[in-house]
Amino acid sequence: MNDFAHLLDRLAYEPRRNAKLRLLKDFFTSTPDPERGWALAAMTGNLSFREAKPAMIRALVEERVDPVLFGLSRNYVGDLAETVALIWPTPTVIPGRREASNPESTTGHDGTSRIPSRVDPGFSPLASPGMTGERRDAGPGHNNPPPDVPTLSDVVETLATTAKKDLPRHLANWLDALDETGRWALLKLVTGNLRVGVSARLAKTAVGALGGHEPDAIEEVWHGLEAPYESLFAWVEGRGERPETLNPAPFRPPMLSHPIEEEADLDKLDPAAFSAEWKWDGIRVQLAGGRDRDGRQVAKIYSRTGEDITGAFPDLAEAITFEGAIDGELLILREHRVQSFNVLQQRLNRKAVTPKLLEEFPAHVRAYDVFADEGEDLRALPFSERRKALEKLIGHLDHARIDLSPIVPFATWPDLAAARADPASAGAGEDADAIEGVMLKRLDSVYQPGRPKGPWWKWKREPFVVDAVMMYAQRGHGKRSSFYSDYTFGCWREGEAGADELVPVGKAYHGFTDAELQKLDRYVRNHTTKRFGPVREVAYGREAGLVLEIAFEGVQRSTRHKSGVAMRFPRVSRIRWDKPPAEADRVEALERILERGEREIAPGESMETDA
C-alpha cells in the first residue's frame, strides 16, 4: 500500500505525461501480482467495494484527536482525507525517551532529542486520559508488536468481504500502520475519491509499454479481463498467452481521422480513391453483439474511449440482435429527423433513465463502419468491402433504431466542397443542421485502431466566428504556467439601465502561437484592473479593451454563463489589436446561431412544461 501511495503522490505532483508514464512503468515493473493489478484497477476505476463514509472517518479521528483541533485543521486543509492523514497520531512511540530528554536544554543539533517531541502535545489534546495518554504511559520496555502495513490487496480484499460494523476497526488498524502518504491514499481509495491525475488510458498505455504493445492492444483484451489482471501482466511480460477475451461483445479501439485544415490540403489527394459521407454531430459509439457460452445474446454499447454505456441506452441495446460490431454515431431522431447536439445532450446529462426520457429522446445509431459480422473480424478488409458488408448487415437487421450513414457522391473536390457548404441541397435535407462537415475515407483503407495519417480525413464545416472583448485572464498550466493564457471574453448586450454592457460568453485558451501568447500575456499584465487569486480582470468597455476573434463550432444554452449561452470548442482565431471594443459583436449574434440549432421537433407538451 505504501508503494502504491507513493506512486499516487508522485503522479499528483507530476504535470508531464511522459514522466507520469515512466513512473507508472517503473511501478508495474517493480511491483508483484496481485498488488499491481489492484493498483491498475484502482486507477482505471474498476474497483468496487463498500465505501467508507466521511462521517465514519471523522468519528475515528475524533476518538484520537481533540475535535476542536481537528475541526480547525480540517477547515484549514480543506480536504478530509489529507487532514486525517496528517493529523492521525502515529503510534510508533519510542517509550521512555521523553523522560530522558532534558527539558532545560536547548535543542542540540542531534536529532535524537527531537524524536520525543514528535509524539507529543498535539496528539494528546484530549485533556481526559485518552488513548494517546495510555500509549505514552506505556513506559520503557513496553513492547507492542509493530502494526502490519497492509498491502493494497489486503485492503481491497478486506473491503470486499468485511461487514459494515467491522469497517472502522480495519480502517483504524491500517491508518496506524501506514505513513502519511499511505494514509492519504488509503482514505482517498476507501472514500471512492481516487483522482490521481492519471487517466485510465494512460495506465493502460503504461501496461502495454511493458511488452512493447500499443495501448489499443490492451483495449482489445481489456473488456474480457477482471482485476487483478494477472493474465494481462503475464501476456505483456511474455510469460503467457494473449488473454482470451471471454466477452462475446468486446470493445474494439476505433480508427480516427486527421483534419483537412484548408482546401489546398486536398490537392495532394486523388478524389477517385476516396468515399465521402456526412460527419454527424453526435457521439461516436460501438454496438457489439454476440452469444455467451449458454447461447444467450449479449448486447453492449461502448463510447469511443471504451466505456460501457449500455445501461444508459436500453432502447438501443435491444436493437443489437446481431452477432457482430458496428461503428456509428449516436443521435436523437424524432420523426426520422436528426436533432441537434443540444437535444442529444439533454439525454446524455440525465442520470436516471426513465420511460419518459426514452420516449422523448429516442436514441438511434447511424452506422458507418463494421468491425465484425457473424463472428468474423472484418477489419482487415478494405473500406469498400466493409461498406458492402455493413449495408448487408443493416439491411438484414431492418431495425428503426439503426440505419446507414449515406454516401455523399462526388467526382471532384469542388463537388465535395459544394456539398460541405450546403449539405441540405446535397442530399442531407432537413438533417443538415446536425452535420458538421464531411468525412473522407480511402476506399482501400483497412480498419486500423488509432489515428493513422492518410486513410481517413475529416473536413469540418467552416466554424462560426464572433468578435468578443477580453474581460478576464487566468494563468495556464504546465508549460504555460507562468503565462496568462486562458481568456474569458464577452459580447455586448443591453443592460438593465438601458446602457450596453459586456457579458461573458465563453473562455478560450488556445488558437494562438507562442509568440502571440507572449504578447497577450504582456497585454494582460499591463492592463490589469483587479486581481482575484489566479485570475486578473483587464480593462474592458467601449473605449478600452482588446478584441479577440473567436471561432467556435456551435452554441448551447447555459445556466452557468450570465449571457445564457455557451460556445462549443471556442478558440482565438485572430487577435484584433486594431479593432475598437465598441465594434465587437452582440450576444444576439450568438442567440441567432442557437436558434438555428434549436429548430428541432418538440417531443410533445411535457417537454414544454419541463422547460
Partner: protein, 352 residues
C-alpha cells in the same frame, strides 16, 4: 503589590509597547525607540529613531534598508542584562534566522518573554533556541495546527538531490525566502555533500553575501546571468518564491519547480503554486514544538501574536494554561503567509 503583566507590556497601534522602558518591540510603524527580534521585514522596519537589536540583525537591516535605516543603533549582546528605563532587558537566541533573538523584559521578579518567530529544529545558520523561564510567554503560531509536523530537513534536502540525480538534464528552481530560508537550504545542501555551485537569483545575493561575511560557509554561489539560464542543466537555483512561476524561471532547461516552506506539507498549497517538488523546510516551530516549548517554558500565561492562534489558545486551555490571542496585524501577512504573486521578491522573505 507585584507588578502586573499588562503594566510591563501593552498592545498599541504600533505593536507591543513597554511603558516602563518606553520602547516598542518589533513595531510595524516608525517609533522613537524599537527593540527588534529579527531581520524579517514584518518585524524589522526602517524609520525608527533608536534601534536595539543583535549585531547580526542590525547588519541585516543595514543591508536591506541602507545604512541610514534609523537614527541611532545599539547592539544587544546575547545573554547580557541591560537596564532600559525602569526595566531590565535580556536578549536570548530564538533559532529562527541569523541574529534572531527573544527579548525578556523584567521588573520586580516579573518576566515577560517576547519570542518573536522561533524554531526548535537544528539550523546550521543560526544559534539554537534557548528556553527562558518566565511568567508570560509571547509566542507566534504560524504553524499552529496539529497537521503541521515538519519532517527532518535532511530527508527534504535528499528529495531535492535525488530529483537532480533522476533528472540531470533539468534545472531545479527552488523558491525560498531571501533571508534565512535560502541560506539554510544552501547550508543543508552543503551538509548533504552538494559541492557544485548553487546559483542565485539577484534578489538573494546581498543577504547571502552577508551570511558569508558572518562566517557561515555556503560555498560557491554565483548569481544567475540571464543569458546563461538555458545552459544550466542539472543546476540548483535558489530564487524568491514569487519567481518560481515567473517567466524568469521558464528560461531554464525544462525546470523542476521546488519550494522550501512549511506550507508545502499541505498538498493543495503546493499544487496551487504549481510546485512539483515540495520541500517541507520551515524556520518556524511546528505544532509539537510549539506545544513542547510552552510546556518547557512553564509560563502561567501565553499570548499568541499571529498565525493559527485559535488552535494554540484552545490547546493551552486544555492544558490549564491561561492564553489569549493578540490579533496583531502586520505580521506574517494575515497569518496566511502566502506570498502574493504580484509582490516584489525582496518583500517576501518575511513569511514561513
Amino acid at each position: 503589590m507585584p507588578i502586573s503583566a499588562s503594566e510591563l507590556l501593552t498592545l498599541t497601534r504600533e505593536g507591543l509597547y513597554c511603558p516602563l522602558g518606553r520602547f516598542h518591540v518589533d513595531p510595524t510603524w516608525p517609533v522613537e525607540r524599537a527593540l527588534i527580534t529579527h531581520g524579517h521585514a514584518d518585524h524589522a522596519r526602517s524609520g525608527h529613531g533608536e534601534v536595539l537589536a543583535t549585531p547580526e540583525t542590525l547588519r541585516i537591516m543595514a543591508v536591506r534598508y541602507g545604512e541610514d535605516f534609523c537614527r541611532s543603533r545599539q547592539e544587544a549582546c546575547l545573554g547580557e542584562p541591560m537596564r532600559i528605563g525602569d526595566v531590565t532587558v535580556r536578549f536570548a537566541p530564538a533559532g529562527h534566522v541569523l541574529g534572531s533573538a527573544q527579548i525578556a523584559i523584567e521588573k520586580d521578579g516579573k518576566r515577560i518573554v517576547v519570542s518573536g518567530d522561533y524554531k526548535r529544529a537544528p539550523d546550521p545558520t543560526c544559534l539554537p533556541f534557548e528556553v527562558v523561564p518566565c511568567d508570560v510567554f509571547i509566542t507566534e503560531a504560524t504553524f499552529g495546527l496539529p497537521v503541521f509536523v515538519h519532517p527532518d530537513t535532511r530527508g527534504e534536502v535528499r528529495k531535492l538531490l535525488d530529483s537532480v540525480a533522476l533528472f540531470p538534464e533539468r534545472a531545479h528552481i527552488v523558491g525560498a525566502y531571501a533571508l534565512g530560508k535560502a541560506q539554510r537550504v544552501m547550508a543543508l545542501l552543503r551538509e548533504e555533500g552538494w559541492d557544485r555551485p548553487i546559483h542565485l537569483h539577484g534578489a538573494m545575493e546581498k543577504l547571502t553575501e552577508l551570511y558569508k561575511q558572518e562566517g557561515i560557509p555556503l560555498g560557491e554561489t554565483p548569481k544567475v546571468v540571464a543569458a546563461e539560464r538555458k545552459d544550466l542543466h542539472g543546476a540548483i537555483v535558489i530564487c524568491p518564491p514569487s519567481s518560481i512561476q515567473d517567466l524568469w524561471a521558464r528560461k531554464f532547461p525544462d525546470p523542476v519547480t521546488a519550494f522550501a516552506s512549511g506550507w508545502m506539507r499541505v498538498r493543495a498549497r503546493a499544487r496551487q503554486k504549481g510546485v512539483e517538488l515540495p520541500l517541507v523546510i520551515s524556520d518556524h516551530s511546528d505544532w509539537p514544538d510549539l506545544c513542547r516549548t510552552i510546556r518547557e517554558i512553564g509560563a502561567e500565561e501565553v499570548w499568541v501574536t499571529h498565525g493559527q492562534e485559535d488552535a494554540l489558545v484552545h490547546w493551552c486551555g486544555t492544558q490549564g494554561i491561561k492564553a489569549k490571542p493578540l490579533h496583531m496585524l502586520g505580521y506574517g501577512d494575515d497569518g496566511e503567509a502566502e506570498p502574493d504573486p504580484g509582490a516584489k521578491p525582496e518583500m517576501e522573505e518575511a513569511s514561513a
